[in-house]
């Protein structure tokens, strides 16, 4: 694992990169909407409001510095994800799903 890197670059004269998560209605998950640059948390929220919330239906915003997100790397993929491939019994394919639900 490594940290997302962008914000550590002190030679970069851009503001820090922030990732934005929006929630459409109460109870729904906050979903990743995109990223933007801002000098601090207050402006990250304001900019997120202007860039991502002006037209869509939004009831809550989260912003987080991109550099604070720990992300898996392509090198991790084999060890992390492949073992799930051949264990079909871990997937809920053997249940009858209620109408209107999808297993994907």
């Amino acid at each position: 694992m490594k940290s997302n890197g962008q914000t550590a670059d002190r030679h970069n004269d851009q503001w820090e990169l922030w990732e934005v998560f929006v929630q459409a209605t109460a109870g729904q998950p906050h979903e990743h909407a995109g990223s933007l640059r801002a000098p601090d948390a207050e402006f990250a929220l304001q900019n997120a409001r202007d860039v991502f919330a002006r037209r869509g239906k939004v009831c809550s915003l989260w912003v987080v510095k991109a550099g604070d997100i720990a992300a898996s790397t392509p090198d991790d993929a084999k060890a992390f994800f492949d073992p799930a491939d051949d264990k079909i019994y871990r997937h809920p394919h053997f249940y009858k799903l209620p109408r209107g639900m999808s297993s994907e």
Binding site: R37, A38, F43, N47, D50
Partner: protein
């Protein structure tokens, strides 16, 4: 509504609508030029809010006057017939100057909108009700910038202090109360402009002090916009804003 109240109200709607139109047009001049993409979008959004609110008020003015439209009022009046305050027509200058102008006007407009929500003239109360939340956000945006520019680097501090000093002379006009103002306030349609002064001054003083900026000493205040006596900047702005409509008066798109 009697004839004179209706005439006063028309005049009042021009003041309010022209303030919003002119400040909105000024902000729109930043489109594509702001220091960073996110702020470009923020300024354009605020510009659209102001122009949107202004068009509601100018629709109202046109209906009161009869035989005209908001578009006609906007594109075919001369500077001398515009009733906006001098503050909003001042050129953008640098980023600090735009944000100081926006804070001074935005706070005034927010306080006014708050009061107009209880106007006895329901069309105006309705517009104010709808605009109130937008004005709240505008004040938040410009206040946060003032804090960061004033209390930022040496350069941002000196640029914002210079903007405060230059624009201060245009703030007195916002609170001038004349015959029109008094008559409409008497009918419960508006508030006397001077009644907003104390709260504006208090909040402005607090914010400037938090931003490590100095409130200028009492000095001469410019006046005249409400009577059509404008600085030379408005004419230049209108020339650009009106040219297409005047060159092709019947154009539709």
């Amino acid at each position: 509504m009697d004839r004179s109240t209706q005439d006063y109200l028309f005049e009042y709607c021009l003041r309010l609508g022209d303030d919003l139109l002119v400040v909105g047009h000024r902000l729109s001049e930043w489109c594509g030029h702001a220091p960073i993409l996110e702020e470009d979008i923020a300024l354009a959004n605020i510009a659209l809010d102001c122009i949107g609110q202004g068009s509601f008020v100018l629709d109202l003015a046109a209906a009161l006057k009869g035989a005209t439209t908001a578009d006609r009022l906007v594109y075919f009046r001369e500077a001398i017939d515009y009733r906006n305050c001098l503050l909003v027509e001042q050129p953008n200058g640098d980023f600090a100057s735009t944000l100081v102008r926006q804070f001074f006007f935005g706070l005034y407009h927010h306080l006014l909108t708050d009061r107009l929500r209880s106007s006895t003239y329901l069309p105006l109360a309705g517009i104010a009700q709808k605009a109130f939340k937008e004005t709240e956000y505008h004040v938040r945006h410009s206040s946060q910038w003032m804090l960061r520019l004033g209390d930022g680097t040496e350069e941002s501090h000196s640029r914002s202090q210079r903007a405060v000093n230059d624009l201060w002379q245009f703030t007195g006009e916002l609170f001038e109360t004349d015959e029109i103002d008094s008559a409409l306030a008497g009918a419960g349609i508006t508030q006397r402009s001077e009644s907003l002064r104390n709260e504006w001054m208090q909040r402005t003083t607090d914010l400037l002090s938090n931003a490590t900026l100095t409130v200028p000493a009492d000095s001469f205040m410019q006046s005249g916009g409400r009577r059509g006596k404008h600085t030379e900047h408005l004419g230049h702005m209108l020339a650009e804003m009106q040219i297409v409509a005047r060159s092709f008066p019947e154009a539709t798109w």
